[in-house]
Structures are given as C-alpha cells and as structure tokens.
Amino acid sequence: MSGVSPRARKPARRISGPARAALAVVTLLACTSARTTSARAAEAPEVAQACLACHGEALAEGAPPIAGHSSNYIQLQLVFFRAGRRKNEIMQGVAEGLSDNDIRALGKYFASLPVPDVKPPADTQADLTKAGEAAALQHRCAACHGDTYLGIQAAPRVARLPEAYLAKALGDYRTGTRPSSGGAAMTEVAGSLSDADIKALAHYLAVLP
C-alpha cells in the first residue's frame, strides 16, 4: 500500500500557550475574511485558507495533520463539527459558517494533498509500543484502518498522527463525545478500552515506522 509522498517536508512545529490563543483569533478572522477576499490560492479553494492556518505545513497545538485523509472522512468531521456533534471551540466556530459546497470542496482539496512525509518521533518506550501493538490486534484496528494504518475510505489514516491527538480521540470516542461513522465502529471499540490501552495505542500508532 503506497500513498506516502516522497516530498520532503519540515517536521511539525508546535505552538502553545498565548501563541495558541492568538492563533485561534487569527483563525476565526481568517475564516470570516477569507470568504470576502477575492485573492485565490494557487490550488487551495479560498475557504481552505482558514484551515491551513492550523492544519498547514506547520501544525498548531492540538491540530492534527489532515492532508491526505479521504474526502469522506474530512467531510464527515466538518459536518459533525457544524452540527455540534463533535466538540471543539475553534473547529465549531470555523465549521458553522461552511456551506455544503464548502465542505465538499474542502474534502476534495485535502484528499488531493499528499500524506505528510513525517518521520515518526524516536521510540523511547519499547514496552509501551509492544503493549500498543497487542491492543491494536485485540481491538482489530487494522480491520478498518488497514494493515499499515493508512486508512480505508471513511476510516482515516492513524499511523504517525500526534500521540496526544490519538489519545484524545480515543478518549472522546470512549465517552461518546465524538461521533463515530461506519456503524458506530469507534464507539463500540473504544467503549472497552482502559486508560492504559489508550495510552499504549496512541503511542504505538504515533511511532509506527
């Protein structure tokens, strides 16, 4: 299974603290102004500019990379945010102004981008990785996300996503605060995870070679 871009890319930059708060404001401003400006990016639809502020080459804290996810996955998440079914202050703020056509365009655009070719962080916790691998087998993660965890259809790529993001996502599925597509598969799977399982799974997936 391929799909990983050969294109070299800078490692993700982390933004935290006041910078993050400032960025949130910038994002919201970008969201409102992007829709009135006539300037157009070379390839990205105008409406994608607000997204790229956090999900572009450099990732804002807590913002996962979204390039190369399937169009259906991107669209599902935006619809969930817009409907308030998935909670995040920034994302709900961005999504509430999106039309159906905006969401379709964003899905198409981000799906057309290559998957970021990031090197996983060095694995300094081999035992945790092993526990995560066992948990992934037990909970059948690869059945939907693919043997190399690069995603299939609406089940997204989970390989080499930020560890903190993966842990948060699994925790949110477990508590039912993040909706699951595809027959509620994630709600079902995450419902039986322990805190230790989540920690191990997030680590294992984040450092996948």
Partner: protein, 425 residues
C-alpha cells in the same frame, strides 16, 4: 447483505462488558499474532434488544474479514456531482436518466400522494420527506423528523402511512398539511422493537390491507417467533395474518397486477463467502409458505450450522436467484404505459449493492421478466454505473416507483437523491 448504509442505529449502549468479553473470547480461538475475528452470541433477547453497534460483524470469518458496510457520505451529493455520476449510468437504448430531486438524505421507500406529492422515507436520517413541484422546480420538504428508521411509506385515501420499526403511523389529509403535519395515529404496533433488520417496507393490496416484512435481529440464527415473516395487516382494525415464514431481511415487495399475489425481494445471510448464498426474488402462491430461513438458503443450500436436520425440499424455492450480496431492496411491477410494450408487468428491482464481498456487485437496477406463476424468469441489468472500482459507490439504488406519467423513479440513499428514468426513444 442487509445492514445497508451507515448503520447509524439509535441503539442504547450498555453491552460494552459483553462485547469486551466476547472479543477476548474471540482472541482465544484466533491464531497467535493474527487479528481476532468478531464473534457475538446473537441467540438471546439481550442481543436482540440491545445489539452492539457493530452487530452485523458478529459472524465474521477469516475469509470475509473486515468486510463491513461502508460509511455513508457525509452529505447528499451536489447537483454537479449528480450530473457527473449520471453520465456513467448505462441504460437500454431510448431511455434517459435525470435528477428528479437532490438533497434527500438517505432516501428509501417512495409513495405518490393523490395530488402529486412524492413522499420518501429514510434510513438513519430519521426523516420523512415530501417533494413537491413549485413552478417546475422540485422542492424537498422534511415533513417528519426524529422517527426510528422510517424506511417504509405508503399512501391511501388521502393519508400517509409510515412504518418505523415497531409502529405504523397514519397522517390524515397529509397533502393539505405538508408544512404542519397532523399528529399521527398509531394504526398497528404488534411488532417487536428490534432495530437490527427491523427497518421495513409497506405495500397495499387491492383490499386495502398492507403487506409488512419483519426481519430477524441478526445475520443468522433461530429467529424470535415474532419475526422472519411477512404479515398482511388490516390497518383499520389491526387484524393481521402471517402470509410467509422463513424470510430473512426483506425490504421490498409489490402486488402482481396480473394475479394480486405478493412478490418480495429477500437479502440472504452474510459471512458465508463472496459468492454464496444468492439473494432472492420470491412469490407467495398460498398463505404461510415457508421460504427456508434459517434452515435453507437460495432454495437449495442447507445452512452449515442452522439446517438442524431440515432439507431444502421442504421449503418454497425462489422465483429467481439474484446473485450473492447484490442486496435487492425496493421492487415494482411496471404498470405504466410510456415504456415499450414488452416492459408491461416486468419487475424492476433496486439493488443496493454489496458490503460483505471483496468485489462489490449490485448497485444497479435489474429487470425481471417472469410468468404470473413464477415460471420462466429471465433477468437483465436495466441501469448500472454507480459502482466504481472494487468497492466505491457513487450511488446505491434503494427503491423503485412507477410515476403517474409512466417514468421510473429511483431512490438513492447513498447520494441522497431521486432519479427519473424515462423512455424518450
């Protein structure tokens, strides 16, 4: 097949402990290092009432591993996408397909009102829609919300009937009140609340009784006594009779205009293989015929576990084997007059398409030419082109309706649209 799209079932959770235990149990039987197969014990009422969200995976095999239903698109297809999709649809010479209405999320059974309103049920969207013509443009109104899988709709004597799992509702004088539908009257509720395969289809006969299929709340097993059957119900009195037994998941049927008999489609069990057993087209020639489930599939294939000593010769075979995992849903006899004469009384079947198969098939409309007694069935594909590659849909036909002008309407619950197929020569 069966479970269809999205499967966003509103099922109470609370089976986590059980699910975890079963997953762990599955591990013990799996080979070392291999991913466990999903196994559920679906034989008891706890499962029927509160199945885990992924109940349809409960009989997973290594051969079919991971072949779960694909997640529905997030949004109904846009007009531009629909125009593009329909370019790929192949029809016999002289026929054309166009968009009748777009923006109809998870569209399922359709029924016309006397004044030309098209009523449409839905799967997990919980809605019933009314599509009306306003100055030549079709406008989609969501007239009912929050119903439990309201897949089946019918219209008679000014009233709209909606079936939502365990209740049939009647909305009187509906076409005069589309913007403020009346409170419904519950006209039949002697049905179990099991959601799995509990979504239904409604067909009135000439006496004004309605045919209702009731599916088993799992893939395969000895069904609860209240399901795996088709009933004929008088909605005026609540009188009901069982007309067919041994039926798995049926979500389509129609009255043969030649004989008054009820014909119906049936989805065969999953997790046997890519190519068996075949889905079916059945006909009821006398009351309480048994069609074989769970003992015998496709009329000639004993179930490896649930045959339980019964033989296929004991059961009514299908009129036609439609193919494995094609998922036949809505069907109608062609009773219009705008198609060429040879289409008269042919059956059109909306095939929803596979999920439990490595290379999907179905996702098209089949034409069946068959004698009134069920003999000499011939099948051909009438409309196809919604299936891309091995496992990608641009649309999934879910129901068929003959419009008053003789055109064929097709409900697509994947693209959230209604199409119109006309003969234009």
């Amino acid at each position: 097949m069966t479970a269809s799209n999205g499967l966003r079932l509103r099922i109470a959770r609370g089976t986590r402990g059980m699910a975890a235990a079963l997953v762990a149990a599955g591990l013990l039987t799996g080979t070392a290092g291999a991913q466990a197969l999903k196994q559920y014990d679906s034989s008891g009422k706890a499962f029927w009432k509160n199945p885990p969200p992924d109940w349809f995976l409960g009989d997973e095999t290594s051969a079919q591993k991971g072949l779960a239903p694909p997640a529905n698109p997030a949004l109904p297809a846009s007009d531009e996408e629909l125009a593009e999709n329909l370019k790929a649809v192949k029809l016999p010479p002289g026929f054309t397909i166009s968009v009748y209405a777009s923006g109809v999320p998870e569209a399922r059974q359709m029924a016309f009102g006397d004044k030309g309103t098209l009523f449409v049920g839905s799967f997990g969207a919980t809605n019933v829609y009314a599509i009306v013509d306003q100055g030549g443009k079709k406008v989609v109104k969501t007239i009912l919300k929050g119903l439990n899988m309201p897949t089946g709709v019918a219209f008679r004597d000014g009233a709209l009937y909606v079936v939502a799992i365990d209740k049939i509702f009647r909305y009187d004088n509906i076409e005069a009140n589309l913007d403020k539908p009346p409170e419904p009257v519950v006209v039949y509720d002697d049905m179990p609340s099991y959601v799995a395969h509990g979504w239904k289809y409604l067909t009135f006969d000439k006496d004004g009784w309605v045919y209702v299929p009731l599916g088993p709340p799992f893939n395969i097993g000895n069904p609860p006594s209240s399901v795996s059957q088709v009933r004929r119900v008088d909605l005026k009195t609540g009188a009901a009779e069982i007309v067919a037994l041994g039926v798995r998941n049926s979500v389509g049927g129609d009255i043969d205009p030649r004989t008054g008999r009820y014909w119906f489609t049936e989805n065969a069990r999953d997790w046997m293989s890519d190519d068996i057993p075949s889905d079916k087209l059945n006909m009821i020639s006398k009351v309480v015929e048994h069609f074989g489930y769970p003992y015998c599939h496709q009329g000639d294939m004993p179930d490896p576990k649930f045959a339980q000593g019964r033989t296929c010769a004991e059961f009514t075979p299908p009129v036609a084997k439609l193919g494995a995992h094609v998922a036949p849903l809505g069907m109608k006899f062609y009773t219009g007059s705008s198609f060429p004469a040879e289409y008269k009384n042919n059956i059109f079947i909306a095939e929803h398409g596979s999920w439990n198969r490595h290379k999907y098939q179905g996702g098209r409309i089949e034409r069946v030419i068959v004698d009134p007694d069920g003999k000499n069935a011939k099948m051909e594909t009438f409309a196809s082109g919604w299936l891309k590659g091995d496992r990608d849909y641009t649309g999934r036909p879910a129901d068929i309706l003959v419009a008053p002008d003789g055109a064929l309407l097709v409900a697509d619950d994947w693209a959230g649209a209604i199409y119109r197929i006309a003969y234009t020569k």
